[in-house]
Amino acid sequence: MEQVFSRPQSLIDVPFHFCPGCHHGIIHRLTAECIDRYALQETSIAVASVGCSVFLYDYLDVDVLEAPHGRAAAVATGVKRARPDRFVFTYQGDGDLAAIGTAEIIHAANRGDRITVIFVNNTVFGMTGGQMAPTTMPGQETTTTPFGRDPAVNGFPIRMAELLGGLTGTTFVARGAVDTPKNLVKTRKYMQRAFEVQTTGEGFGFVEILSACPTNWKMSPERANKRVKEEMIPYFPLGIFKGGDA
């Protein structure tokens, strides 16, 4: 019998620690698939951020450097400038990239650093216990917006892909989701392109991926998936914002 599906070589064979229904596991797998596809396992230097994604080094079989909260893009700049021949990517959540690390991501993108950024947006601080993130939706209840996010008090969810797509320094910017097989396949393509713009030396690649956090959303995995489609995608539209057709 022909084997048509297997674990990516760069994905370590251990169970994920992520909560049931969390999309990090899927996105980790997609990342590993890209590493394998472009044969980058031996030349990759990953920059792990903080939060649920910090344990990237438990799952990806590549060299990993851990960055302080929000600073992954600046760390990646240092790595890439020192080792321009290596493949350098960050993996960051919304609390990390869109709050404390806003300055670092905008300037790394605008410098056109030849790095790849995988940005997981689940509209909440995950590991710290479900506090409001910059991407939290209006009306969304979190532990620090117990009455729902009020834009008059907390402002509006920030659209990072649109923001970075508007910068001259970026080469490829897209937003995907992994709530359905169809979206997953598209997201895989976006990630491949974000990897390619680095391997070909074209420039900075960024993929935002809408992700479910059933635990902190206090939803079943099915309901959480539905929320991605019904609430998140309308506000955070999917597609390519820079470097290709949507």
């Binding site: 031996e42 080094y57 590549v62 450097l65 851990e66 960055a67 600046a74 020192a82």
Partner: protein, 352 residues
């Protein structure tokens, strides 16, 4: 070797490049701007990279990234900027990543001013950032020493896999003096821990997060032992210890003014010696303790309201009641005459 006439800031930049520093990340702040300016001009010629970062925070983290791949990297700033770098310095220590960080300090607290101050002593020697960590702190007092110690800083950082701070001040950074350049003779160690992509070897992880039971305790004990080993690097300069009845302790650029004042006192027959710590961490506790068996009276002189004086008191233990202090908060620099006057007062009270 050639003799040049340069600023302290320029000497640091020149020493860094000579020692093999090829990556500089920084953000402008007075009075250390000559360092990034020099680096931006001279790094490209040696195949190096200069990046003006968007903040002090970004620049220390760029250093973290570059150093993690084995490169020699430096950042510099001045007091408020160093406060912002403290997070990154803590991570460098926790992840055991080397790097050289220059603080050409100015006066605070807050925005303060751009005049010289030694008010960052506690921040530099006590860790400064979060967690139970230490960094080697070198305090040059001349342009020549700034050059020499910067070269040494890179060797020490690599040797201990730990960041090394150079603590100068606005005076040292801006003063212009003759500098004798010399070729770097050190040999950067083989680095079997750096991230280069896992080709032909198992992957490596550089991190500071340790969650398993007991793992962080072990890591911190390991770091503690490393900080103890740094005592081998203690350096200081002494003058007139043989017959001294009063030992004056001062560091950095201020120590030069104190030296002149001590010279004036000697001319007047006062038996005064001088100790200038060159490493502020580790502090020369043992040397001072040994001296305290012969010399009973001490005086710390600082450009602050008193920080290093606490280390002098710790060093001399039960004789701490015989430690006098003269400090000058930021805003003006004392003249040798003024310091002579203060030393003479203490000498009269304690000895004459």
């Amino acid at each position: 070797m050639e003799t040049l006439f340069v600023k302290g800031n320029e000497a640091i930049a020149m020493g860094a490049i000579e020692a093999g520093c090829r990556f500089y990340f920084g953000y402008p702040i007075t009075p250390q701007n000559d360092i990034p300016e020099y680096m931006s001009k001279h790094l490209p010629a040696v195949g190096g990279t200069f990046i003006q970062a968007e903040s002090e925070i970004a620049s220390i983290n760029m250093l973290l990234g570059a150093s993690a791949t084995g490169a020699r990297a430096m950042t510099s700033s001045s007091s408020p900027g160093i406060s912002l770098k403290q997070e990154g310095i803590s991570y460098l220590c926790g992840s055991q990543i080397p790097g050289v960080i220059v603080n050409m300090s100015r006066s605070g607290p807050g925005l303060g001013g751009i005049s010289p101050s030694q008010g960052d002593y506690f921040q530099a020697t006590r860790g400064g950032g979060h967690g139970d960590y230490r960094t080697i702190v070198l305090a040059p007092s001349s342009v020549q020493e700034a050059y020499d110690l910067t070269m040494r800083a890179f060797d020490l950082a690599d040797k201990y896999r730990n960041p090394v701070l150079i603590l100068g001040d606005a005076l040292l950074g801006q003063i212009k003096e003759p500098l004798k350049t010399r070729p770097y003779r050190g040999t950067p160690p083989e680095k079997d821990w750096i991230l280069t992509g896992a080709s032909g070897r198992p992957r490596r992880i550089l991190k500071s997060l340790y969650l398993s039971e007991g793992e962080l305790t072990d890591h911190n004990w390991f770091l503690y032992r490393k900080y103890q080993q740094m005592k081998r690097e203690i350096r200081f300069e002494t003058q007139n210890l043989d017959d001294a009845k009063l030992l004056v302790v001062a560091f950095g650029s201020l120590a030069r003014i104190v030296k002149s004042a001590v010279g004036m006192a000697r001319e007047k027959g006062m038996l005064i010696g001088l100790l200038r710590p060159i490493t502020l961490y580790p502090f020369p506790y043992a040397a001072l303790e040994k001296i305290s068996r012969k010399i009973r009276n001490f005086m710390a002189v600082e450009l602050s309201t008193g920080q290093m004086v606490e280390d002098v008191k710790l060093a001399v233990g039960h004789k701490k009641n015989q430690v006098d202090f003269y400090g000058r908060p930021p805003g003006s620099i004392p003249s040798p005459d003024e310091i002579f006057h203060e030393i003479a007062k203490v000498y009269k009270k304690r000895i004459a």
